[in-house]
C-alpha cells in the first residue's frame, strides 16, 4: 500500500463514517459506503484487487449484518472494522478469515471514539448559542458544517496511520499466526453473527412470548429452505394479520415506552 492509497482509504473511511455529512449524510455514507460489503468494493478499487476486496467485505458484512446503532450506542465500530481490517488483511495477502480476525478487535477500538467525538461536539453547541445571541445567524446555522472537522480528525488520522504504518506489522503478524488459530477464526466467524442478531432481537422484541415470530422466521429459512424475499412476504402477511385482528390498543404502550427509552 503506497502513501496515496493509504490517504484514499482514510479519506473514504471518513466519508463512510456515521457522522460524516459529505455523501448525503447517513443515507449515502454510513448506510451505503459504510456497509462492509460496499466498503470492501471501494477498498478493492483503491488497492487494485476488486474481487478480493468484495470477498473480504462480504465476510466482514456477515458478522455485522444485524448491527443496529441507535443514537449514541455503538456496540462495535464498523468503520474501523472495514477500513482498517479489510485493507490490512489484503496487503498481508491473508485469507478472508484473517480479515475477520483483524476486524473484530479493531471494531472495539473505535467504540470509545464515538463518545469522544460526541463530547468534543458539546463545544459547538455552546458556540452555536453564542453566535445566535450575537445575531450571527449564518454562522450559527453553519455550526454542523464546522463541527464535521471533529469527526474528520477522529476517523481520517487513525485509519491513515493504521493502514500506512500498520501494514508491515500486520503482514508479519499474519505470517506468524499458526494454522489452528486461523481455523478457530473460521469457526468463530460462523458463530459471531449470532451476537448481532441477538442485539437486533432485543431491539424488536417487545414481549417475551413474541419470540415465536423469531422462531417462525428461523424455521422458514433453515427448515423450509425459503429464499429471503419469499420469507419476507410471509413476514408481511403475519404483520398484516396482526394489525388487522389485534385492534389498535397493543401498539400504544410501545410508543410511549420507546419515547422513554430514547430520552
Amino acid at each position: 500500500m503506497n502513501l496515496l492509497q493509504a490517504i484514499l482509504i482514510a479519506l473514504f473511511g471518513y466519508l463512510s463514517s456515521n457522522y460524516s455529512p459529505w455523501v448525503f449524510g447517513q443515507l449515502g455514507g454510513w448506510y451505503t459506503m459504510g456497509r462492509p460489503l460496499v466498503s470492501g468494493f471501494i477498498i478493492g478499487i483503491i488497492l487494485g484487487d476488486v474481487k478480493t476486496g468484495i470477498l473480504m467485505g462480504a465476510a466482514v458484512q456477515t458478522l455485522y449484518i444485524g448491527l443496529v446503532t441507535p443514537g449514541l450506542s455503538m456496540p462495535a465500530d464498523l468503520n474501523f472494522a472495514s477500513y482498517m481490517g479489510i485493507p490490512l488483511a489484503m496487503v498481508a495477502g491473508a485469507d478472508t478469515e484473517y480479515a475477520l480476525g483483524l476486524s473484530v478487535p479493531l471494531s472495539f477500538l473505535g467504540v470509545s471514539l464515538v463518545y469522544v467525538v460526541a463530547s468534543v461536539n458539546v463545544f459547538w453547541v455552546r458556540k452555536q448559542e453564542q453566535w445566535i445571541a450575537e445575531g450571527k445567524i449564518e454562522k450559527a446555522a453553519n455550526v454542523p458544517v464546522y463541527a464535521s472537522i471533529v469527526q474528520f480528525l477522529a476517523r481520517f488520522v487513525p485509519i491513515f496511520l493504521a493502514c500506512y504504518f500498520g501494514q508491515e506489522f500486520i503482514t508479519d503478524l499474519v505470517a506468524a499466526i499458526p494454522e489452528w488459530l486461523g481455523d478457530t477464526f473460521v469457526t468463530f466467524g460462523g458463530v459471531l453473527p449470532a451476537v448481532g442478531f441477538a442485539m437486533l432481537l432485543r431491539f424488536v422484541l417487545k414481549k417475551n412470548l413474541e419470540i415465536l415470530y423469531f422462531l417462525v422466521g428461523f424455521v422458514l429459512i433453515k427448515v423450509l429452505g425459503m429464499p429471503i424475499i419469499a420469507a419476507t412476504i410471509v413476514a408481511c402477511f403475519l404483520g398484516f394479520l396482526d394489525i388487522k385482528y389485534m385492534g389498535s390498543g397493543a401498539g400504544k404502550a410501545e410508543i410511549e415506552m420507546e419515547v422513554e427509552e430514547d430520552e
Partner: protein, 276 residues
C-alpha cells in the same frame, strides 16, 4: 381569518435545500448534550432570512430549536419537515405557540426513532444486504455491492424527500392525521413483527455452528451433527443466538464479554476437536 393564511414565504427550492441540509448535517454535530439539536437549529437558521426581517425574530426562531432532539434522521426527516411547516405558518402570522412546536417534535422523535431503527435499519437493510451477499457468491461479483447500494438509494432518497415534503405541506395536520387514524400504532406494530421474523430468517441464514465430533464405539459410529440435524436443523445456532439474546437482554451482559466468551468456546472446541 387565520384560515386564510397560506404559507408563502418559502419557495419549493428553499424547502428542497432545507431537506438536503437536514439529510447531510443531521448527525455532523452529534453531541452528548443535545444530540441532533445543532442541525435542527441549523435548518431553521438557513431559512431565517426568508421567514423574518428582524434579527430578534431570527434569533428567537433558532433558539426555539436548540433544545435536545434525537431521532433516526433519515426516517425522521418528516418531523423536520413538519417543524419547518409550522414555523412558516407562524412567520406568516398564524397563531402557533412555542410549546406546540416543541411538543410535536418531542412526541414524534421517539416513535420515528423506533420505526427507523426496527423497520429500516433492522429489517430493510439486513434483507437488502442478504440479497447482496447472495449475489457476491464465491467469485466476488461486483453485482453484490452494486445491488445493495442501488436498491437502498432508490428506496430511501424518494422516501425521505416525499415524507419531508408531506410533513412540510401538512404541518400540524400531518401530526393529527398520524395520531388520530392510529396509523402510527399500526406502523410500529407492523415494523416490529416484520423485524422479528426477518431476524429469525437471517439468523437461520448466517449463524453456523457445527459439531465435528463423531462418536465411535466398536462397529458403531454416530455423527453427532447428523443426529442434531435430524431432530431440528440449525438447533445449535438457534440456541446460541437465543442464549446471546437472553444474556444481553435479561442479564445485561455486555456485547464485548459475549464475543469474548464465544471466542473462548470456539478455541476450546477446536482444540478438543469437538467443533467442525
Amino acid at each position: 381569518m387565520s384560515e386564510n393564511i397560506t404559507k408563502s414565504k418559502l419557495s419549493k427550492k428553499d424547502v428542497f435545500k432545507s431537506y438536503v441540509y437536514w439529510m447531510m448535517f443531521a448527525l455532523s454535530c452529534q453531541n452528548m448534550e443535545r444530540m441532533e439539536a445543532p442541525a435542527f437549529a441549523g435548518v431553521m437558521g438557513k431559512v431565517a432570512n426568508k421567514l423574518y426581517d428582524s434579527i430578534e425574530d431570527k434569533q428567537a426562531l433558532m433558539m426555539r430549536h436548540t433544545q435536545f432532539y434525537n431521532t433516526q434522521p433519515m426516517v425522521g426527516s418528516m418531523v423536520t419537515g413538519i417543524a419547518l411547516g409550522m414555523e412558516e405558518e407562524r412567520a406568516c402570522g398564524k397563531e402557533v405557540p412555542d410549546e406546540l412546536i416543541q411538543s410535536v417534535k418531542t412526541s414524534l422523535m421517539g416513535p420515528f426513532a423506533g420505526i427507523g431503527d426496527s423497520l429500516f435499519i433492522g429489517t430493510l437493510i439486513p434483507i437488502l444486504l442478504s440479497i447482496g451477499l447472495g449475489l457476491v457468491g464465491e467469485n466476488g461479483s461486483i453485482a453484490g455491492p452494486l445491488f445493495y447500494a442501488a436498491a437502498w438509494l432508490i428506496i430511501m432518497i424518494p422516501f425521505t424527500w416525499l415524507t419531508y415534503k408531506w410533513g412540510y405541506r401538512s404541518g400540524i395536520s400531518a401530526v393529527q392525521t398520524i395520531y388520530q387514524s392510529g396509523v402510527m400504532d399500526k406502523v410500529v406494530r407492523f415494523a416490529n413483527i416484520l423485524g422479528m421474523v426477518v431476524v429469525g430468517c437471517i439468523t437461520g441464514q448466517y449463524v453456523s455452528f457445527n459439531i465435528g465430533w463423531v462418536y465411535t464405539s466398536g462397529e458403531m459410529t454416530m455423527d453427532i451433527q447428523g443426529v442434531l440435524d435430524g431432530i431440528f436443523p440449525g438447533a445449535l445456532p438457534l440456541l446460541i443466538t437465543l442464549a446471546c439474546w437472553y444474556l444481553m437482554d435479561k442479564k445485561k451482559v455486555s456485547m464485548g464479554k459475549i464475543i469474548l466468551a464465544l471466542f473462548v468456546i470456539c478455541l476450546a472446541g477446536k482444540f478438543f476437536g469437538i467443533l467442525a
